[in-house]
Amino acid sequence: MSLVTNLTLFVLAAFLGYEIITKIPTNLHTPLMSGANAISGITLIGSVLVAGSGETTLATVLGVLAVVMATINVVGGYLVSHFMLSQFNRGGR
């Protein structure tokens, strides 16, 4: 895909993100941050690609390290958000 198409996606996603996030109440800022943090672990896809199909040993080593880091980010981020959000719903018995 061309650079311009990618830039278009980038700009539109930025506006979309702005519109959604401004509506989120301060109460949920911490779980929002850890949830968004988990989404940024999407770099895991790239890590999987270079780890799984790296053509040189160096690329594979870098890829494996990246997979480990990105997976910590994804799994940890979603779990932490989940625990926090379930606490919000438990409140006010």
Binding site: I20, T30, H82
Partner: protein, 477 residues
């Protein structure tokens, strides 16, 4: 390359899977607008992530499946262990640490892509985006490590201050940019460069960016942490987005940009809540407070009180607002505070929490702690909505907060915190301030609130004091 299990499908199949994942991410974030739907939103978002990763693994040929599976397992186990074992009070450093891992992974992916691309030759687009991804990802990784270390008490204050630090920051940032330019120019003009000639440039860039990241976060601390954590959150998203440009991968671009926007908005909300510019948080230091005045202000005007007296005041009150601060988090007093609030409510008192946006060390810190202690989110009121209610409040109980209830922000134009929105607790009939001592908050300035006629000081550790209040209340009911 597309020789995976589903590799016979056209590339548009993979793009479609990424589109579905992007929809899941957007819907997941939209559901975060209310606590009732937020848990579902988080699940939807994680479903999108699972789909995106699964589609990638199935579509492309994986040369070493065992190695990949092992690294996924290790990362998953470490992430799950960290998430399960963390205390809510340690949440700021954990969120900071996770930000760093995302950024670090992006740097490595961009590097690996450069290594693999040498044989095909390095395009201008590839080297440019890889240089940006490398800088952003590395600054995020090392900045986050320093931030998490500071929050965990492992890293102290910076030994390098003021202008020297700024000069060093500029030097290493310029170094990273120059290495990036070298990388771009070399491949753009020299064409297909052999591995050995450009590789050092990328790692030089990473090294310079690492030192810049450390120097950037090292001098920032204390009450400015919510800004830093939100900014690093934004940067971890931007690192993923630029890596998406490197790999020409739409899922990375869309998801990374969403996170980048989210973190940036939080960053600016935090800055507004302190009435400070982002640049002043990052590069400036707070104006020096006039510490000599402190004793004059407090001299003879401090009223000390006891748990028993406070209990009587609370007993007679119809409406009580509790204002928590970082001190509550440090003392882990949230359960005792919630218990006290429950007791008062059972007795017909109207209890609410007034929460300043930058109270604590990350956005929403106090809310997360109180939610852990089963406080209803309807009772946690934002600054704008709780301020008008203080004049109809009988007792305000401030526990572990200082600068966010300092009237100087409204009254003293020369104050370092002038113009910062604060909780106007002094409008209430009486104010109880629970603090360990009269020491100043992060801003280093005295708080005239403590000397007010309707303010009494309840000295002590937040948890102990709240527990004493609960005990005193139970004795009399």
């Amino acid at each position: 390359m597309a020789d995976g299990v589903l590799g016979h499908l056209p590339p548009s199949a993979l793009e479609l899977a990424y589109l579905v994942a992007a929809i899941f991410f957007v819907q997941g974030l939209r559901d975060m607008t209310h606590p009732r739907t937020a848990t579902r939103g988080n699940l939807i978002s994680s479903g999108g992530m699972f789909l995106a990763v699964l589609a990638t693994v199935l579509y492309f040929e994986i040369l070493s499946p065992a190695l990949l599976a092992a690294s996924l397992l290790v990362g998953g186990a470490v992430g799950a262990w960290l998430a399960v074992s963390v205390e809510t009070t340690e949440m700021p450093q954990l969120v900071g640490l996770f930000n760093g891992f995302g950024g670090g992974a992006s740097t490595l992916v961009a590097g690996a892509e450069l290594v693999d691309a040498t044989e095909a030759g390095l395009g201008l687009e590839l080297t440019t985006t890889a240089a940006i991804a490398g800088i952003v990802g590395t600054v995020t990784f090392f900045g986050s490590l320093v931030a998490a270390g500071k929050l965990h008490g492992l890293v102290g204050d910076s030994p390098i201050q003021g202008r020297t630090n700024q000069a060093l920051q500029a030097l290493f940032f310029a170094g990273a940019v120059l290495a990036g330019l070298f990388l771009i120019v070399q491949s753009g003009f020299l064409g297909e460069a052999p591995l050995a000639e450009w590789l050092p440039a990328y790692w030089l860039l990473v090294a310079a960016a690492a030192i810049f990241g450390i120097l950037l976060v090292y001098p920032i601390g204390g009450a400015d942490m919510p800004v830093v954590i939100a900014l690093l959150n934004s940067m971890s998203g931007l690192a993923a987005a630029t890596t998406g440009f490197v790999l020409d991968n739409t899922a990375l671009i869309v998801a990374g940009t969403l996170v980048g926007a989210a973190g940036l908005i939080l960053t600016f909300i935090m800055c507004e809540s302190m009435n400070r510019a982002l640049s002043s948080v990052l590069f400036g230091s707070m104006a020096e407070g006039d510490s000599e005045d402190m004793e004059d202000i407090y001299e003879g005007s401090i009223t000390e009180t006891s748990p028993e007296e406070v209990e009587m005041m609370l007993d007679a009150a119809e409406r009580v607002v509790i204002v928590p601060g970082y001190g509550m988090a440090v003392a882990q007093a949230q359960h005792a505070v919630a218990e006290l609030a429950d007791l008062l409510e059972d007795n017909g008192v109207d209890v609410e929490f007034g929460i300043h946006p930058v109270a604590g060390r990350m956005p929403g810190h106090m809310n997360a702690l109180l939610a852990e202690a089963d406080v209803d989110y309807e009772k946690m009121r934002e600054l704008e909505s709780v301020n008008p209610t203080f004049s109809q409040t009988d007792v305000v109980l401030v526990t572990g907060a200082n600068d966010v209830v300092n009237p100087s922000a409204n009254e003293d134009e020369g104050s370092p915190i002038a113009g910062m929105p604060v909780l106007e607790v002094w409008e209430a009939r009486s104010v109880i301030v629970n603090k360990r001592s009269l020491s100043p908050g992060f801003s280093g300035i005295p708080n005239p609130l403590f000397a007010n006629d309707n303010t009494s000081m309840l000295f002590g550790d937040a948890k102990q004091s709240m527990q004493d209040l609960v005990d005193a209340y139970n004795e009399n009911h």
